[in-house]
């Protein structure tokens, strides 16, 4: 389904306004029920025993002492699970270790007991014999021949001989001839960049409640970005039929990609199966940081050539990402997106996926792209400044636009990068004066969007109000957006529509809330469901009027004769048609099931001012502006919120957030005290400029907006620090000790 041909002319009544969100009151009064707020009669508390070692063979696990404790109802180890299918094997192994514990915090056993205290005490009575193995947590070290090996035989056909078995795959993208391009350059910058792993840092720890009967029927309540995903994965791991496992998504307290997989859920179900009781599991913050999915850490070589007038002649990057103990780091995404903002004749990226003794990475907002953008945008900045050129002008000169062949292959349709750059250049922020030790940085960012399986059912109630059921957890206001699109299409007030997130028994398959897909894909399905209901309502009006359905049209929330030939009939409103639905054929609903593809790509330019304390290396963010193309902003306040939230997560990544492993491979900062996410006093207001270059693949022109905003800030901040201090920081985070050392070296 494509952009409505008349959309450029379409005057929206509701889309683009800022109504109150439907779940607002529940969330400001404490009534909203998140993952840990769900209870069941007779429930047990489930806790996990975790490996204290970064890498160890599990020689034996003796659970007998724990099982003998009064109040302990079930103990689960890997031995309780059947051999899984290939597609869930790593997920299960990550939820419950098999032959080896692969990282500090890896689950090795779990207990369900009648109280948390009993469970905690009983965990200490599980006797695990470990044979500690050498470990590796650094990506470059893990690639070297002779590095401690996590798995044998996982390397795929893309990897040349002679590398460590920790190297899983190689990904190469690009076109042209790099050497030829570099030969045209007046200057070449060649640098190596590093970024540490960061965590999504959602404030709500993972939580779930599971129950299962001997008949194989099971229920699961959990905080997740995708309860259909949770159903399918858990059913396969537990050997259940998907239709027998009903999963209900609680309110979700943040995810950012980190809740697109399962960690506790299969274990909770197994504990419930063994104990015959409902089992609730809630992670501590320490468990979240040690054993859920942070993003990859990276090491990236970049080589870019530029002419003295600012034309990029060639761009090359070799990216090495470790994604923890299992294959699947987003290095392919990083390799595809690294140069995506630029129109380059000669471009090449090579990505290496590497495993290390760290927790299995999970998606984090534009997975793989921010670190790649940090490397490329830093090098471009260095070249531009080296020539004394305006960094925005240089980016404009090289910007990808409609018709550009993207660095990852396809030719771009209409895109918004140039618009964000021009708007940034004209913005007062760009020309505002700076003081001593202050500097301004800019950077661009790119992200894909996608669609995926989506179902929406829209019901017309007898009193003429509307309920929308969708299958994607609402992580940032999507119920409001769906209600708005339904109301827009139906021509009724926003307040007449209530959208709910339905359980897995109520709709067909739905892809996870990820890839910035919900406003695009679920929005599209909502619009189509509304159109289906409209068709039915027009048919009912036609019956009443005794005319052909084709002679009825829907205008401003009512059916009316399409023209004079259809006869003289006063319009019938949605409520009037609803009231007589029983008399005209029964209840009225519209539904739409699809796998909408054709989501549009999204670009942003960020601008930031920093001040560097030359005596301590402290960096202060003084001013920040986001310029991003939203296609069409359905609810602009929540679009701004996505821009602001992504920018601040990126600021944290740039300055203070990092996974710190000791020599022993144990995570040293598994808490919010030393895993330092930005606090309110670290930040200024985050200004936003929403641009609207419609996506031709959506009836209202929507592009996903959730992810792109985290791509530019790493480089934008680093570029601003460079401008303020004169040192180019190539390693994130730019923590004060690192920056001070660099200042002293200068």
């Amino acid at each position: 389904m494509a952009l409505d041909s008349k959309s450029e002319l379409r005057e929206f009544k509701i889309v683009g306004t800022r109504p109150l969100r439907p779940d607002g009151i529940d969330k400001v009064t404490g009534k909203a029920r998140f993952g840990a707020d769900i209870t069941a009669p007779g429930m047990l508390v489930g806790l996990v025993l975790r490996s204290p070692h970064a890498h160890a063979r599990i020689v034996s696990i003796d659970t007998s002492r724990a099982e003998a404790v009064p109040g302990v109802h079930a103990v689960v180890t890997r031995a309780d699970f059947a051999e899984p299918g290939e597609d869930v094997a790593d997920i299960l192994d990550n939820c419950m270790a098999g032959a080896k514990a692969l990282y500090d915090g890896h689950a090795v056993a779990a207990i369900a007991a009648s109280s948390g205290k009993i469970a905690r005490d009983a965990l200490k009575l599980i006797d695990v014999v470990y044979e500690v193995l050498p470990h590796v947590t650094d990506v470059d070290a893990a690639m070297k021949p002779g590095a401690p090996v996590l798995h044998e035989g996982r390397t795929d056909e893309t990897v040349p001989e002679g590398l460590s078995p920790n190297v899983i795959s190689r990904h190469e993208f690009g076109h042209g001839d790099i050497e030829a391009g570099l030969a045209q350059a007046d200057r070449i910058v060649e640098r190596t960049f590093q970024t540490e792993a960061t965590h999504q840092g959602y404030i709500e720890p993972h939580a779930c409640l599971a129950q299962m009967g001997p008949d194989g029927q099971a229920d699961l309540w959990c905080c997740t970005q995708g309860h259909y995903m949770a159903r399918n994965v858990c059913a396969e791991i537990l050997g259940l039929e998907q239709g027998q496992l009903r999963v209900t998504a609680s309110e979700i307290g943040g995810g950012f990609g980190g809740k697109t997989t399962v960690f506790l859920e299969p274990v909770a179900l197994m504990l419930a199966r063994k104990s015959g009781r409902p089992v609730k599991m809630v992670m501590t913050r320490s468990e979240v940081l040690r054993a859920t999915g942070p993003t990859a850490s990276s090491s990236i070589d970049v080589k870019i050539g530029m002419t003295k007038d600012g034309r990029i002649t060639a761009g090359f990057a070799e990216l090495r990402y470790q994604g923890g103990a299992y294959p699947g780091s987003p290095v392919d995404m990083g390799s595809m997106s690294a140069f995506a903002p630029y129109d380059l004749e000669h471009v090449k990226t090579i990505g290496w996926d590497v495993v290390t003794n760290r927790p299995k990475q999970a998606a984090y907002r534009a997975p793989g792209a921010p670190m790649a953008a940090f490397a490329v945008e830093s090098a471009i900045d260095e070249l531009a400044r080296g020539f004394g050129l305006d960094p925005l002008e240089v980016r404009l000169k090289n910007a990808a636009r409609e018709g550009t062949r993207a660095s990852y292959g396809p030719t771009y349709p209409a895109i918004g990068l140039e618009a964000t750059l021009r708007t940034a250049k004209d913005h007062p922020h760009w020309s505002a004066p700076l003081g001593e030790n202050q500097g301004r940085g800019v950077a661009c960012g790119f992200w894909f969007n996608f669609g995926g399986d989506t179902c929406v059912t829209l019901n017309i109630t007898p009193d003429g109000t509307v309920t929308v059921s969708e299958g994607n957890p609402d992580i940032g206001g999507s119920r409001a957006s769906m209600s708005m699109m339904a109301a827009e299409e139906l021509g009724i007030p926003y307040e007449k529509v209530r959208t709910i997130v339905a359980d897995t028994g109520s709709l067909g398959q739905n892809e996870v809330t990820d890839g910035s897909r919900v406003t695009f894909a679920v929005g599209l399905a909502t619009i189509e469901a509304a159109r289906a209901a409209i068709r039915e309502m027009c048919k009912r009006a036609a019956m009443v009027w005794g005319i052909e359905p084709e002679a009825v049209e829907w205008v401003d929330g009512a059916a009316q004769p399409a023209g004079p030939n259809a006869g003289e009939h006063p319009p019938m409103t949605l409520a009037e048609i609803a009231a007589i639905a029983s008399n005209t054929g029964g209840p009225i609903a519209g539904h739409h099931e699809a796998n909408p593809e054709g989501a549009g790509v999204s670009f942003a330019t960020h601008m930031v001012d920093t001040e560097v304390d030359p005596d301590t290396g402290a960096v202060k963010i003084l001013r920040y502006t986001v310029f991003q193309d939203a296609g069409k902003a359905i609810h602009p306040a929540y679009v701004e919120g996505q821009f602001q939230g992504g920018a601040v997560q990126g600021i944290g990544w740039a300055l203070n957030e990092e996974y710190i492993y000791g020599e022993d491979g144990v995570l040293q900062n598994a808490g919010f005290l030393d895993y330092r996410v930005p606090v309110a006093s670290d930040l200024p207001m985050i200004d936003t400029v929403i641009l609207e270059i419609p996506n031709p693949g959506h009836p209202y022109g929507v592009r996903g907006v959730g992810e792109t905003s985290i791509v530019p800030p790493l480089a934008a901040v680093a570029n601003a620090v460079s401008a303020a201090s004169g040192v180019r920081m190539t390693s994130l985070p730019i923590s004060p000790p690192k920056l001070l050392a660099a200042l002293h070296e200068r």
């Binding site: 203070n656 005290l673 330092r676 923590s735 000790p737 001070l740 002293h744």
Partner: protein, 286 residues
Amino acid sequence: MHYHSPTSVEDAVKVLAAQSGDCRILAGGTDLLVRMRSGLAEPDAILDIKRIDGMRSITREEGGFRVGAAVSGTEMAEHAALVAAWPGVVEATGLIGSTQIQGRATMAGNLCNASPAADSVPAMVAAGAVAQVAGPNGVRDIPVAQIPTGPGKTSLGPGEFVTSIFLPARPDRASDAYLRFIPRTEMDIAVVGCGVSITLDASGTCTEARVALGAVAPTVIEVPEAATALVGTPLDDPALSALSAACSAAASPISDKRGTVEFRTHVAGVLARRAAVIAKTRAGAA
């Protein structure tokens, strides 16, 4: 686990004397509960001192202030006379954690937790504060600097606990300041902390000084060389540079997840200089 909340020092001493297992003192609880939560502490009993008479009050004594062991940082900040006399000590205590933590955390708890990075301790040491300790052998007074003996370790004997902190009287033209370095603007443990307390004469010459550093040694340390660098000077640039050099020289930190040896050593000198300038202004220097 047992919870005790006696209402007199005598009862508290008796309860402590009767314990056979691990009994922890609960004041604000902002360190103890974190330790319990992480399994680092598994006490058999907790003795809550907040209901003991006098533990929650600030009283004038000999021109100075006696601050009960359960007085929170927020309560200190609300005491105008205390703030006027010892702004550095109050601001140091007020830096411990968030607004929420400040409503509970105490100087005495911060002291007995014996972290080398405790914010209030360098300020207290610079102030010449004295802890009052009750125990089976009665009550004794001891300079706060002598309470922590290493990370997590104190010189308190079995059955002893701190009941109050005494901040001495202030002459005219005297003040103090505390600065710490943290990576964010709030919510972090000090990477380096520095308390400076000074007294000036009518001409603005420093007649007395005390300087203490946090997070650069196993305990908070007093730096006499830093004080020497200030006394007899108008706290001018050469004196401040000497102060800075003395503090960096006195620092013998470790590298850890919060900072490096080089960083802490350098920043100790930076903070000392900046804190001295603030103290000088507060003391009323022209």
